[in-house]
Subunit: 120 residues, 2 copies
């Protein structure tokens, strides 16, 4: 049984790996058969064995978040094989620096205005 | 030969995988023997075969950046098995939103000051 909502269909991982989807399959709650790309991506970047090991090492209530973050990383790596999601981190870091600089400058303008108001 | 700077030592990848480090080894320029952790991390998260495939699919001049981004992702996943470096992306995204909001408010204050100055 893949999951309660798909009693007869194997999960996307077992279908991809051409194996029987047994009850308690570590992949089935997170890789529904209707989304085969999610597993294909994660498999291509991390490998089924590494994902299975990782899932078994973390608490069941955190596995969905783990799978979703792995799927995000895998998709980013397939789109950008050189930087993957580290590219997004660099863009965001630059954005934070730019905004912080702009905020500092605006605050300095505000202080200048306040001083002018006191002077008048 | 592992690399020109280490003519006799196998690279960290070949040492880890207990294989002969041949001339033209795809790993040796990016995994020097003096940094065994870099390869161990990347191997644990992505697997040697996936990393080798990825390196062979990208241009040689981009391979160093690719290995460094993989090493960054691997280290982040080992530190935080649930979110990996996607956790850093979430933190940065929240930081950008907070700074943008703060900047908007400061700009609004600045406009208010300017209008007051015109009124007087």
């Amino acid at each position: 049984m893949a999951s309660s909502s798909h009693p007869s269909a194997p999960c996307a991982a077992c279908k991809f790996l051409r194996r029987k989807c047994i009850q308690g399959c570590v992949f089935s709650p997170y890789f529904p058969p209707e989304d085969p790309t999610k597993f294909a991506n994660v498999h291509k970047i991390f490998g089924a064995s590494n994902v299975s090991k990782l899932l078994n090492e973390i608490a069941p209530h955190q596995r969905e978040d783990a799978v979703n973050s792995l799927a995000y990383e895998a998709e980013a790596r397939l789109k950008d094989p050189v930087y993957g999601c580290v590219g997004a981190i660099s863009v965001l870091q630059r954005q934070v620096l730019r905004l912080q600089k702009e905020l500092d400058a605006t605050n300095a303008d505000l202080i200048r205005f306040s001083i002018q108001d006191i002077d008048f």
